[in-house]
Protein backbone atom coordinates (compact mmCIF):
# COMPACT_ATOMS: atom_id res chain seq x y z
CA UNK A 1 0.00 0.00 0.00
CA UNK A 2 1.13 3.54 -0.75
CA UNK A 3 2.05 5.41 2.40
CA UNK A 4 2.88 9.06 2.82
CA UNK A 5 4.83 10.18 5.87
CA UNK A 6 4.99 13.89 6.47
CA UNK A 7 7.81 14.92 8.79
CA UNK A 8 7.58 18.37 10.33
CA UNK A 9 9.69 20.29 12.81
CA UNK A 10 7.96 20.45 16.19
CA UNK A 11 6.12 23.71 16.90
CA UNK A 12 8.73 25.09 19.31
CA UNK A 13 11.70 24.38 17.04
CA UNK A 14 13.12 27.30 15.12
CA UNK A 15 12.80 26.77 11.38
CA UNK A 16 15.21 29.23 9.75
CA UNK A 17 14.46 27.76 6.33
CA UNK A 18 10.75 28.41 6.75
CA UNK A 19 11.53 31.91 7.99
CA UNK A 20 13.69 32.64 4.94
CA UNK A 21 10.98 31.36 2.58
CA UNK A 22 8.39 33.44 4.42
CA UNK A 23 10.54 36.52 3.93
CA UNK A 24 10.88 35.62 0.25
CA UNK A 25 7.10 35.41 -0.07
CA UNK A 26 6.75 38.75 1.68
CA UNK A 27 9.12 40.08 -0.99
CA UNK A 28 6.41 39.21 -3.53
CA UNK A 29 3.87 41.02 -1.33
CA UNK A 30 2.08 37.79 -0.35
CA UNK A 31 0.34 37.96 3.00
CA UNK A 32 1.55 34.87 4.74
CA UNK A 33 2.79 33.81 8.14
CA UNK A 34 4.05 30.75 10.05
CA UNK A 35 5.72 29.13 7.05
CA UNK A 36 7.25 25.81 8.11
CA UNK A 37 9.25 23.49 5.91
CA UNK A 38 9.15 19.74 6.36
CA UNK A 39 9.86 16.57 4.47
CA UNK A 40 7.51 14.26 2.61
CA UNK A 41 8.39 10.56 2.33
CA UNK A 42 6.39 8.29 0.07
CA UNK A 43 6.75 4.53 -0.02
CA UNK A 44 5.05 1.23 -0.78
CA UNK A 45 4.60 -1.08 2.19
CA UNK A 46 3.40 -4.65 1.58
CA UNK A 47 0.05 -5.46 3.21
CA UNK A 48 -3.70 -4.96 2.77
CA UNK A 49 -4.78 -3.90 6.25
CA UNK A 50 -4.39 -0.10 6.55
CA UNK A 51 -4.01 -0.25 10.33
CA UNK A 52 -1.24 -2.81 10.07
CA UNK A 53 0.55 -0.88 7.33
CA UNK A 54 0.26 2.32 9.36
CA UNK A 55 1.79 0.54 12.36
CA UNK A 56 4.73 -0.53 10.20
CA UNK A 57 5.21 3.05 9.01
CA UNK A 58 5.05 4.24 12.62
CA UNK A 59 7.81 1.76 13.53
CA UNK A 60 9.91 3.16 10.67
CA UNK A 61 9.38 6.68 12.03
CA UNK A 62 10.46 5.58 15.49
CA UNK A 63 13.58 3.83 14.20
CA UNK A 64 14.85 6.20 11.55
CA UNK A 65 12.55 8.59 9.74
CA UNK A 66 11.95 11.00 12.62
CA UNK A 67 14.28 12.54 15.18
CA UNK A 68 11.96 12.98 18.18
CA UNK A 69 14.11 15.79 19.57
CA UNK A 70 13.06 18.10 16.78
CA UNK A 71 10.48 16.43 14.55
CA UNK A 72 7.03 14.89 14.52
CA UNK A 73 5.36 12.87 11.80
CA UNK A 74 1.90 12.25 10.44
CA UNK A 75 1.21 9.08 8.49
CA UNK A 76 -1.31 8.72 5.72
CA UNK A 77 -2.17 5.36 4.12
CA UNK A 78 -3.42 6.14 0.61
Amino acid sequence: MKVRVSVQLKPGILDPQGKAVEQGLHGFAFEVEHVRIGRLIEMDIPGTDPAEVKAKAQAMCDKLLVNPVMEKASIEVL
Binding site: P16, V69, M70
Partner: protein, 232 residues
Protein backbone atom coordinates in the same frame (compact mmCIF):
# COMPACT_ATOMS: atom_id res chain seq x y z
CA UNK B 1 47.43 5.11 22.99
CA UNK B 2 45.46 3.57 20.14
CA UNK B 3 42.97 5.69 18.20
CA UNK B 4 40.38 4.40 15.74
CA UNK B 5 38.94 6.81 13.17
CA UNK B 6 35.75 5.45 11.56
CA UNK B 7 35.43 6.58 7.95
CA UNK B 8 31.99 6.88 6.32
CA UNK B 9 31.24 7.69 2.69
CA UNK B 10 31.39 11.48 2.74
CA UNK B 11 33.67 11.86 5.76
CA UNK B 12 36.17 14.56 4.88
CA UNK B 13 37.96 15.35 8.14
CA UNK B 14 39.25 11.83 8.74
CA UNK B 15 42.71 12.83 7.48
CA UNK B 16 42.71 15.82 9.81
CA UNK B 17 42.02 13.41 12.66
CA UNK B 18 44.72 11.00 11.46
CA UNK B 19 47.21 13.87 11.09
CA UNK B 20 46.46 15.30 14.54
CA UNK B 21 46.48 12.00 16.44
CA UNK B 22 49.05 10.16 14.31
CA UNK B 23 51.56 12.68 12.98
CA UNK B 24 51.34 15.48 15.55
CA UNK B 25 50.62 13.54 18.75
CA UNK B 26 52.45 10.40 17.65
CA UNK B 27 49.67 8.03 18.68
CA UNK B 28 48.92 4.80 16.90
CA UNK B 29 46.01 5.88 14.71
CA UNK B 30 44.00 3.49 12.57
CA UNK B 31 41.35 4.30 10.00
CA UNK B 32 38.34 2.00 10.23
CA UNK B 33 35.82 1.47 7.41
CA UNK B 34 32.15 2.03 8.23
CA UNK B 35 31.24 -1.49 7.07
CA UNK B 36 33.65 -3.10 9.56
CA UNK B 37 31.93 -4.88 12.39
CA UNK B 38 34.70 -4.36 14.96
CA UNK B 39 37.01 -1.64 16.15
CA UNK B 40 40.70 -2.62 16.37
CA UNK B 41 41.54 -4.60 19.52
CA UNK B 42 42.33 -2.42 22.53
CA UNK B 43 41.12 0.80 21.00
CA UNK B 44 41.49 3.58 23.59
CA UNK B 45 39.79 6.39 21.72
CA UNK B 46 37.29 6.42 18.87
CA UNK B 47 37.54 9.68 16.96
CA UNK B 48 34.45 10.18 14.77
CA UNK B 49 35.51 12.74 12.19
CA UNK B 50 33.67 15.56 10.48
CA UNK B 51 32.32 15.68 6.97
CA UNK B 52 29.06 14.95 5.23
CA UNK B 53 28.52 11.26 5.89
CA UNK B 54 26.06 9.79 3.38
CA UNK B 55 25.60 13.26 1.91
CA UNK B 56 23.69 14.37 5.04
CA UNK B 57 20.72 12.44 3.62
CA UNK B 58 17.58 12.38 5.77
CA UNK B 59 19.28 14.27 8.64
CA UNK B 60 22.95 14.97 9.32
CA UNK B 61 24.45 11.81 10.80
CA UNK B 62 21.21 9.80 10.68
CA UNK B 63 22.40 7.17 8.20
CA UNK B 64 25.94 6.96 9.59
CA UNK B 65 24.45 6.21 13.01
CA UNK B 66 23.16 2.94 11.52
CA UNK B 67 26.47 1.85 9.97
CA UNK B 68 27.80 -1.52 11.17
CA UNK B 69 30.84 0.01 12.90
CA UNK B 70 28.57 2.16 15.10
CA UNK B 71 27.27 -0.91 16.94
CA UNK B 72 30.83 -1.57 18.09
CA UNK B 73 31.37 2.12 18.90
CA UNK B 74 28.30 1.86 21.17
CA UNK B 75 29.71 -1.25 22.82
CA UNK B 76 33.04 0.56 23.30
CA UNK B 77 31.23 3.54 24.86
CA UNK B 78 29.05 1.32 27.08
CA UNK B 79 32.24 -0.28 28.40
CA UNK B 80 33.55 3.16 29.36
CA UNK B 81 35.78 3.59 26.28
CA UNK B 82 36.42 7.13 25.09
CA UNK B 83 34.61 8.55 22.08
CA UNK B 84 35.22 11.99 20.58
CA UNK B 85 32.87 13.18 17.84
CA UNK B 86 33.71 16.39 16.01
CA UNK B 87 31.29 18.29 13.77
CA UNK B 88 29.53 15.62 11.71
CA UNK B 89 30.92 13.21 14.32
CA UNK B 90 28.89 15.10 16.97
CA UNK B 91 25.80 14.88 14.77
CA UNK B 92 26.35 11.14 14.36
CA UNK B 93 26.68 10.66 18.15
CA UNK B 94 23.38 12.48 18.69
CA UNK B 95 21.62 10.42 16.03
CA UNK B 96 23.10 7.24 17.52
CA UNK B 97 21.66 8.38 20.87
CA UNK B 98 25.04 8.28 22.54
CA UNK B 99 24.48 11.97 23.27
CA UNK B 100 21.25 13.91 23.80
CA UNK B 101 19.94 16.61 21.50
CA UNK B 102 20.12 17.46 17.85
CA UNK B 103 22.05 19.86 15.64
CA UNK B 104 19.76 22.02 13.56
CA UNK B 105 20.50 24.36 10.68
CA UNK B 106 22.47 27.43 11.79
CA UNK B 107 20.21 30.29 12.76
CA UNK B 108 21.68 32.37 9.91
CA UNK B 109 20.98 29.54 7.43
CA UNK B 110 24.60 29.91 6.29
CA UNK B 111 27.53 27.57 6.35
CA UNK B 112 29.95 29.24 8.76
CA UNK B 113 33.71 28.84 8.62
CA UNK B 114 35.39 30.90 11.31
CA UNK B 115 37.63 30.79 14.34
CA UNK B 116 35.68 30.81 17.59
CA UNK B 117 36.58 30.96 21.26
CA UNK B 118 35.43 28.26 23.63
CA UNK B 119 35.20 28.40 27.40
CA UNK B 120 36.00 25.25 29.34
CA UNK B 121 33.06 24.32 31.58
CA UNK B 122 34.30 20.92 32.87
CA UNK B 123 37.85 20.07 33.88
CA UNK B 124 37.26 16.63 35.35
CA UNK B 125 36.86 14.89 32.00
CA UNK B 126 39.47 12.80 30.21
CA UNK B 127 39.09 15.35 27.41
CA UNK B 128 39.69 18.43 29.57
CA UNK B 129 41.81 17.39 32.56
CA UNK B 130 44.84 19.38 31.35
CA UNK B 131 42.72 22.54 31.25
CA UNK B 132 41.50 24.90 33.94
CA UNK B 133 37.90 25.93 34.56
CA UNK B 134 37.16 29.08 32.58
CA UNK B 135 40.13 28.58 30.24
CA UNK B 136 39.46 30.02 26.80
CA UNK B 137 40.82 28.40 23.65
CA UNK B 138 40.52 29.22 20.00
CA UNK B 139 39.53 26.66 17.37
CA UNK B 140 37.85 26.75 13.98
CA UNK B 141 34.26 25.86 13.16
CA UNK B 142 33.04 24.84 9.70
CA UNK B 143 29.42 23.78 9.61
CA UNK B 144 25.90 24.55 8.43
CA UNK B 145 24.10 22.52 11.09
CA UNK B 146 25.59 23.33 14.47
CA UNK B 147 22.61 24.86 16.19
CA UNK B 148 22.43 22.62 19.25
CA UNK B 149 18.85 22.05 20.35
CA UNK B 150 17.18 20.13 23.12
CA UNK B 151 13.69 20.02 24.64
CA UNK B 152 13.55 22.71 27.38
CA UNK B 153 13.31 20.18 30.24
CA UNK B 154 16.16 18.11 28.77
CA UNK B 155 18.26 21.26 28.44
CA UNK B 156 17.64 21.99 32.12
CA UNK B 157 18.70 18.43 32.97
CA UNK B 158 21.82 18.67 30.80
CA UNK B 159 22.89 21.90 32.49
CA UNK B 160 22.04 20.57 35.95
CA UNK B 161 24.19 17.50 35.53
CA UNK B 162 27.09 19.55 34.12
CA UNK B 163 26.78 17.98 30.69
CA UNK B 164 28.14 21.05 28.92
CA UNK B 165 31.88 20.72 28.28
CA UNK B 166 32.45 23.82 26.14
CA UNK B 167 30.53 27.00 25.48
CA UNK B 168 31.08 29.64 22.79
CA UNK B 169 32.45 32.85 24.30
CA UNK B 170 34.35 36.04 23.52
CA UNK B 171 38.16 36.11 23.44
CA UNK B 172 37.93 37.24 27.08
CA UNK B 173 35.67 34.37 28.02
CA UNK B 174 32.40 36.30 28.21
CA UNK B 175 29.27 34.32 27.49
CA UNK B 176 26.36 35.76 25.55
CA UNK B 177 24.26 35.47 22.43
CA UNK B 178 26.68 37.79 20.56
CA UNK B 179 29.37 35.14 20.78
CA UNK B 180 27.27 32.19 19.59
CA UNK B 181 27.90 31.72 15.88
CA UNK B 182 25.07 29.32 15.05
CA UNK B 183 22.20 29.93 17.48
CA UNK B 184 23.03 26.96 19.71
CA UNK B 185 20.96 26.91 22.91
CA UNK B 186 22.84 28.35 25.90
CA UNK B 187 25.84 28.80 23.60
CA UNK B 188 26.60 25.11 23.79
CA UNK B 189 29.55 24.03 21.64
CA UNK B 190 30.28 20.63 23.17
CA UNK B 191 28.59 18.18 25.53
CA UNK B 192 29.39 14.94 27.30
CA UNK B 193 27.25 11.97 28.23
CA UNK B 194 26.41 11.09 31.81
CA UNK B 195 29.55 9.00 32.33
CA UNK B 196 31.77 11.66 30.76
CA UNK B 197 33.43 9.27 28.30
CA UNK B 198 31.63 10.46 25.15
CA UNK B 199 32.27 14.03 23.98
CA UNK B 200 30.63 15.68 20.99
CA UNK B 201 31.58 19.14 19.79
CA UNK B 202 30.97 21.21 16.67
CA UNK B 203 34.37 23.03 16.59
CA UNK B 204 37.42 21.25 15.19
CA UNK B 205 40.22 20.91 17.76
CA UNK B 206 42.08 18.55 15.38
CA UNK B 207 42.52 21.42 12.94
CA UNK B 208 44.40 23.49 15.50
CA UNK B 209 47.22 21.30 16.79
CA UNK B 210 50.06 21.53 14.30
CA UNK B 211 52.30 24.62 14.70
CA UNK B 212 53.40 24.20 11.08
CA UNK B 213 49.83 24.86 9.98
CA UNK B 214 48.83 27.65 12.35
CA UNK B 215 47.59 28.25 15.88
CA UNK B 216 47.39 25.30 18.25
CA UNK B 217 44.36 26.16 20.37
CA UNK B 218 42.99 22.64 20.04
CA UNK B 219 45.97 20.99 21.73
CA UNK B 220 44.46 21.18 25.23
CA UNK B 221 41.99 18.41 24.45
CA UNK B 222 44.70 16.11 23.09
CA UNK B 223 47.10 16.88 25.96
CA UNK B 224 44.24 16.05 28.32
CA UNK B 225 43.68 12.69 26.61
CA UNK B 226 47.40 12.03 26.81
CA UNK B 227 47.34 12.76 30.54
CA UNK B 228 44.27 10.57 31.00
CA UNK B 229 46.05 7.65 29.39
CA UNK B 230 49.36 8.22 31.12
CA UNK B 231 47.51 7.89 34.41
CA UNK B 232 45.45 4.84 33.33
Amino acid sequence: MRVAVPVFPGSNCDHDALHACGTVLGWETISVWHQDARLPENTDLVFIPGGFSYGDYLRCGAIAALAPIMADVKRHADNGGLVLGVCNGFQILCEAQLLPGALLRNESLRFIHADVHLRVERTDLPFTRAMKAGDVFRVPIAHAEGNFTLEPEDLTDLEARGGVAFRYCSAQGEIGADHVPNGAMNGIAGIVNLKGNVLGMMPHPERAVDPKLGPTGGLGIFRSLEAAFAKA
